[in-house]
């Protein structure tokens, strides 16, 4: 099923298709809401991930803290942010990595008023 928002560049909308693909990745993320699970994950990340029926690509994305890959593999932004929370890492630094910028570059951009939508509305050029 195609959606009108597929035409918006650089924008991940969490559809049902993504939810199905990311089901176990997002369930793993949700498990990090419990302190004891956070401790177990940090003690042996690979072993903890292997308890979940996730794809290898999903596990690798988590191990490498590759947030763009986590979204690509069906992760929902608010769920994968729980991996960042385990690391004590800010939402802004995750946003910077998704944008392909250093935290310094991204922070300066935000202080200067953020990323303009000009030229970033439409892949097809309709908007």
């Amino acid at each position: 099923m195609t959606n009108a928002f597929d035409d918006i560049p650089g924008t991940v909308v969490f559809t049902g298709e993504r939810a199905r693909r990311g089901r176990h990745l997002n369930r793993f993320c949700m498990s990090l809401m419990k302190p004891e699970n956070r401790a177990r994950f940090l003690a042996d990340e690979r072993a903890y991930l292997d308890e979940w029926p996730m794809t290898e690509a999903q596990k690798r994305a988590v191990l490498e803290r590759d947030f763009a890959a986590m979204l690509e593999e069906g992760g929902n932004i608010f769920f994968v942010l729980k991996v960042a929370a385990v690391d004590g890492r800010s939402t802004q630094s995750v946003a910077a990595s998704l944008a392909g910028q250093t935290p310094e570059e991204y922070g300066a951009m935000m202080r200067a008023g953020g990323r303009s939508p000009e030229g970033l509305r439409s892949i097809s050029g309709r908007f």
Partner: protein, 297 residues
């Protein structure tokens, strides 16, 4: 009878809560944001609402993706601040108003708005940050709160128009609640911001300004705006703005804007805040009627 006396729109950026909780409100990055709510803190201290119907979205705190209610109303006696992955915010427990919540649920469900009924629900920054912005850091919140959670993180979210019409139905429900209560409706989230994707960091001041103008003067234009336009102009997470329309719908056809504040940025987000009051549009009272009734007929 209970009556809706005002509406509040406010962003609910988690980093604002963290700045407050960690005593950073006077840092240059955060000071303008808290200053932008000083008028509103004085206003609400004078208004002394009894109950706030607080429209917000949960961010993977109370709801996993195992079940995703489109609209969920909190009917519990109280709601605990959620542990969002680094321990709960050290803010007071949120005290509900179960009698009014159940009354609203019954009224709007029989009007065919099929709310999910929540008797236990932890509340995350989406709900507690606006409370902190409006009330500061009290030892107990000076108001009861009915949480109304809207799904905006699993597509499809409800339409903007559905959010507005739910607000209208809530207003009808409140008007038939027998207890004399001063009720406010708050719409939270937004304004423009995006996390998900390489367009992260998007801010659209022009759209946000238009949204705030139309919210008061021409909400019909916002009601018919499709999801993709909210996402394109305000960002993937900026679509939270549809929740402001429930607040707007609850205020009736005409409103007056008492206060507006806008600031970029709070972390990744444009902060917007308005205070609106309903204007009477029905029959004026006799003393307010300059034209004699016989002449008007």
């Amino acid at each position: 009878m209970a009556r809706i006396t005002a509406g509040v729109g406010s962003s609910h950026v988690p980093a604002i809560g963290a700045a407050l909780d960690r005593g950073r409100t006077h840092q240059p990055e955060w000071r303008p944001i808290f200053a932008g709510y000083e008028w509103s803190q004085r206003w609400i201290a004078a208004e002394r609402p009894d109950v706030i119907i607080l429209v917000y979205n949960d961010h993977a705190s109370a709801f996993s993706l195992d079940f995703v209610p489109t609209f969920a109303i909190g009917c519990a006696d109280s709601f605990a601040p959620a542990d969002e992955g680094w321990g709960p915010r050290q803010v007071p427990e949120v005290i509900g108003h179960p009698e009014l919540a159940w009354h609203i649920a019954q009224s709007v469900i029989l009007e065919e708005f099929d709310l999910t009924l929540m008797d236990r629900m932890d509340v995350d920054h989406g709900l507690t940050v606006p409370l902190s912005l409006m009330f500061g850091q009290p030892t107990a919140w000076p108001v009861r709160v009915i949480p109304l959670a809207v799904n905006v993180i699993q597509y499809p979210a409800p339409t903007a128009n559905r959010c507005y019409r739910l607000g209208e139905a809530i207003a009808r429900a409140v008007a038939t609640f027998p207890e004399d209560l001063n009720v406010q409706v708050w719409g939270t989230g937004g304004m423009s911001h995006q996390l998900a994707g390489s367009r992260a960091g998007l801010i659209n001041r022009e759209f946000d300004t238009l949204f705030l103008d139309r919210l008061s003067e021409a909400p019909d234009a916002l009601r018919v705006m499709p999801h993709e336009e909210y996402i394109r102009e305000a960002g993937s997470e900026g679509m939270e703005l549809i929740m402001w329309l429930t607040m707007r719908g609850a205020l009736g056809p005409r409103v007056r804007e008492l206060y507006r504040f806008y600031h970029v940025p709070a972390s990744n987000t444009a902060v917007g805040h308005v205070v609106l009051v309903p204007e009477e549009t029905g029959e004026r009272s006799v003393t307010d009627d300059a034209v004699p009734r016989s002449a008007a007929a």
